[in-house]
């Protein structure tokens, strides 16, 4: 895990550079360059908000609930929830779907919010982006923690819902979608396959 060569540059220089690189790479396909730039802007704005939040000095519970609203704002929780739940999603009623997404957002913000809470005084630096076409854009970032190992976090941004939204988080190469699919699958199995029991359990995540 090494620091990027552009470590000394400001975020604006970096973004300009990246936008230029992106534009060159996608010469002849301006829509792609635009998607890449949009995705980077989204991640930059989200990381600014996250950094502000963890350093706001507010209580842990306040931070976690603000983290949940940021997720709702920046991520497509319905698409993430449906993809993580898999086949049971298709047979669920619309009421179940709605309460699953609510409970899942609560669960996810607790599980991942606890990680972000550790990143006090850390700096999130956007280091690059790659257009994956149909699957969306992968924006790379590094969480620089003073005196501790740097953590690589990649954000998958897709416009499948009509506007660019976060649809997956890849921490040190580990996809949140894949991990949570295994996790939620095991929880559903432990709940005897009952979606309502799973929803109740997700809601009670602390």
């Amino acid at each position: 895990m090494q620091l990027s060569k552009s470590g000394g540059l400001g975020r604006r220089d970096l973004l300009l550079g990246l936008a230029a690189t992106g534009a060159l790479a996608a010469f002849g396909a301006p829509a792609h360059a635009q998607a890449t730039a949009q995705a980077q802007t989204l991640v930059t704005s989200l990381s600014d908000q996250l950094t502000q939040l963890v350093n706001s000095g507010r209580s842990d519970e306040q931070i976690l609930s603000s983290f949940e609203s940021l997720l709702g704002q920046y991520a497509d929780m319905s698409a993430i929830g449906a993809s993580v739940l898999g086949p049971p999603w298709r047979s669920a009623s619309s009421t179940q779907k709605q309460s699953f997404i609510q409970a899942f957002s609560h669960y996810l913000s607790r599980r991942y919010g606890k990680q972000f809470r550790q990143y006090k005084n850390a700096q999130i630096k956007v280091t690059g982006a790659k257009d994956g076409g149909r699957v969306g854009v992968l924006v790379n970032s590094q969480v620089l923690r003073p005196g501790q190992e740097t953590v690589n976090v990649d954000w998958q941004i897709s416009s499948g819902s009509g506007s660019p939204k976060v649809v997956n988080l890849v921490i040190e190469g580990v996809s949140m979608l894949a991990s949570e699919r295994a996790n939620i699958g095991s929880m559903l199995e432990a709940a005897g396959g009952s979606l309502d029991k799973l929803i109740a359990q997700l809601k009670s995540t602390t």
Binding site: W89, V135, N140, E149, S158
Partner: protein, 241 residues
């Protein structure tokens, strides 16, 4: 003794290597029942010993000391890295690792400091696993070793070969080699400490700790060897709707 175990393990693993899964597969798990038993041992060891020791270590040591220890351990892995880069046919990396080793061993006071990083020669992980990957050797089945942790057949084979083939074995006195083993151990404890919240969530707060660890390990190893997350591994979340 350590070398003997590693050599025996390597021979055993090479003989027993299973066939390859699809490159991004996360389901294939030929040693599942053995692994699950090993995982129980590892989770218990982490809860009772490794986790508490790592947190205690992290609290009493200043970051600068931990950094220094990591630097020493990283520095003395470089002679082995040079051999690996040669096996990979990467002449540029041979030169980079050699320069890095010379700079940090002299100006970096035996490797405690890392002036080479500022010369754009950062540390990069290397070993037989990277070489096997470069040669196209398949990763083999996931294999969790009791008190050893997660790996694959290829990883563990590489781990054994890295130990027996380390050029330092023929150059340094036994005391220095033992010292480097201790430094390596401390570096693992540091890593456990600095990644504490991620490891706690994975090992102790997952609905299925075994699969959570296995899936995380495989993805992380593949991303690390492939030079980052590849867009090819991403899924289209809107495909099923």
């Amino acid at each position: 003794m350590r070398k003997l175990i590693a050599a025996a393990g390597t021979a055993l693993l090479l003989a027993g290597c299973t066939t390859a899964p699809a490159p991004n597969d996360l389901d294939w798990d030929p040693h599942r029942s053995f692994n699950q038993t090993a995982h129980k041992v590892n989770v218990a060891a982490d809860r009772v010993v490794v986790g508490p020791v790592a947190r205690a270590y992290g609290e009493v040591t200043p970051p600068l000391l931990r950094r220094g220890i990591t630097n020493v351990r990283d520095n003395w892995k470089l002679p082995g890295h040079v051999v690996q880069s040669a096996l990979q046919g990467d002449g540029l990396q041979v030169a980079k690792s050699t320069t890095r080793f010379l700079v940090n061993t002299t100006f970096g006071l035996g490797g405690i400091l890392d002036p080479a990083k500022d010369m754009d020669l950062p540390y990069e992980e290397n070993g037989f696993n990277e070489t096997f990957y470069a040669w196209g050797v398949p990763e083999g089945g996931y294999l969790e070793i009791p008190l050893g942790g997660p790996g694959t057949e290829r990883d563990w084979t590489a781990w054994g070969l890295d130990i027996v083939s380390d050029p330092l074995n023929w150059v340094l006195p036994q005391e220095a080699l033992t010292g480097l083993t201790v430094v390596g151990g401390l570096d693992l404890v540091r890593k456990r400490y600095e990644m504490d919240s991620i490891i706690e969530a994975l090992l102790h707060q997952s609905a299925n700790s075994y699969d959570a660890t296995r899936i995380a390990y495989l993805q992380r190893m593949r991303a690390s060897l492939g030079g980052g997350t590849s867009v090819d591994t991403l899924e289209d979340v809107y495909a099923t709707e």
